[in-house]
Amino acid sequence: MSKKGLLGKISYIVGLVFISFVMFLPIYYLVITTFKSPEEAAASPLGLPASLDFSNYMKALDAMNYLQAMKNNIIITSVSVILLVFFASMAAYVIARSTKKIYHIMFAIFLIGLIIPFQIAIVPLYQIISGMNLMNTHLGVILVSVFCINLPLTIFLLRGFIHTVPIELEEAAYMDGCGTFRCFWLIIFPLLKPIIATVVILNTLAIWNDFLTPLLFLQSPDKAVLLQEVYKNVGPFSTNWTSFFPMLVMSTLPLVVFYIIMQKRVIEGVVAGSVKG
């Protein structure tokens, strides 16, 4: 190898190390601090912990009511994502397949949600949710997440994909006397797998990490999600940050594990979600 090529290679690797360093340092700091006492953390903030002491985690588990909050997160995220896939795929199918004008008008109305941020609606939305007696219920948060926040993009992505599915398949099924509804779920829906994966990933990230909606619509501690528990504890633990950091780790751990396992899919999902948005 020529001298110039070698030098270029070395400087490229130095660049990689620099990028990794900038990205990783805050996360490294977060994780190692969770194993330290405040004294140890103050004395050597970036040093490895003297021992793998999980007592901070034990305290945090208790203080943030972890299992209950985690359960609430799982309920809200999974039910929302299932409902989104269920309602949006049917709606997108109709929009993609029917030539009737009414459905095009409906689609245009759904698209308004892509242009107007939902935050404009939150004050009256609060009235509507309390009017429906859904304040402080998981169902209230789920309905807001599904219909107010995430529906338009989900329909938009699904519709784009359904356009690429050949129509001959369904026509053959109709000929055989398959009803529209059954035909959709038995024949079309299984073909949508790639875009369903995208939609599930994007919505899971968005709903799991959403703080504003639970903050507005859930008040009682037994209904609270992980982020609300973190928020609740930041005051009391402000001087004792080595006990607070485990809460940050534990509230994000599920999604980080999800990302590490499904990395390729997650990134493909983000890319697929960007196609002509």
Binding site: I13, G15, L16, I19, S20, M23, F24, P26, I27, A42, F87, A88, M90, A91, V94, S98, M106, I109, I112, G113, I116, P117, F118, Q119, I120, A121, I122, V123, P124, L125, Q127, I128, L151, Y174, T180, F181, W208, N209, L212, L216, L227, V230, Y231, V234, W241, F245, L248, S251, T252, L255, V256, F258, Y259, V266, I267, V270, V271, S274, K276, G277
Partner: protein
């Protein structure tokens, strides 16, 4: 006859989504417009029509005007920085190497964390208290500590840096996907023509990145306008009201102070600001596209 039955089923399949959307998005959005013209608040249960009074109040309120300015400034800056850094990273990391793949996954990682958590983490890193990591590092290299979050002149930029750190990877993967679709023959042609690396970037790469640029610019712009969680966790709008944004003001006025009509007027202003800004960006993008073809 057969088709008629099909149309009826079609209607049943789309209606649940449509009704939900009307009730929980379109109706409250329209109500925001309506309430912004009234005097509705928790202290004032009989609603009266007051014309544009809320808007006048809003633009006479120094705090609110400052929040609108801060938000616009934040959104524009994050759009610029996040995308420049994401494009540079994408070009740098668009290689087939195991080590590069690892770095790419690492750059994307913060995007799966919640904004609130990233905000709390950086609040501790940037704090001017003794244990503040960033100031410790600066002092280790002989510099003077900086009051990252307590100085009203720089607090918003400190917040901005954390968000660029968190979201650059998200834009980057979109740019990389776009880069992969560029025909390598174009680069060979540029090399034969004797174009240098920088020249090739501006005359081959950047124009062909048009689809990713247009998507990413709009996404970071709208995301920047909505900034809330990170302010909530890092500065709470302070010091003073230096980092108050439209969303933090809207939540405070609408929910903590109970000034519903005022908050609705701010929501409408928010919508108009988002609309105008994205129009400007789209016009600019269209001009660029026309120049390319």
């Amino acid at each position: 006859m057969y088709n008629k039955q099909r149309e009826r089923v079609f209607m049943l399949m789309i209606l649940p989504a449509f009704i939900g959307f009307i009730v929980l998005f379109i109706a409250p959005t329209a109500m925001s417009f309506f309430y912004s013209l009234t005097n509705w608040s928790v202290y004032n249960p009989d609603i009266k029509f007051v014309g544009l009074d809320n808007y006048k109040m809003l633009f006479e309120d120094v705090k609110t005007v400052s929040a609108i300015k801060t938000t616009l400034q934040y959104a524009i800056l994050i759009t610029i920085f996040q995308n420049i850094i994401a494009i540079l990273l994408a070009v740098y990391l668009n290689k087939k190497m195991v080590a590069v793949n690892f770095v790419k996954s690492l750059v994307f990682l913060p995007a799966v964390l919640s904004i609130l958590v990233v905000g709390f983490l950086f609040q501790y890193i940037m704090t001017s208290a003794d244990y503040g990591l960033l100031n410790n590092i600066i002092q280790f290299f002989g510099g003077d500590p900086v009051n990252w979050l307590g100085d009203s002149k720089i607090a918003i930029y400190s917040v901005l840096v954390t968000q660029v750190w968190q979201w650059a990877g998200w834009s980057m993967v979109i740019y990389i996907a776009n880069l992969k679709s560029i025909d390598t023959a174009l680069y060979e042609a540029a090399e034969i023509d004797g174009a240098g690396k920088i020249r090739t970037f501006f005359s081959v790469t950047l124009p062909l990145l048009y689809p990713a640029v247009s998507f990413n610019l709009l996404m970071s712009l709208i995301g920047g306008m909505k900034v809330f969680d990170v302010i909530f966790s890092m500065t709470k709008g302070g010091p003073g009201y230096a980092t108050e944004t439209i969303m933090t003001t809207l939540i405070r006025e609408g929910f903590n102070s109970g000034r519903n009509a005022y908050a609705s007027a701010l929501a409408v202003v928010f919508f108009i600001a988002v609309f105008i800004l994205s129009r400007i960006v789209i016009t600019f993008l269209n001009k660029w596209e026309r120049k390319l073809s």
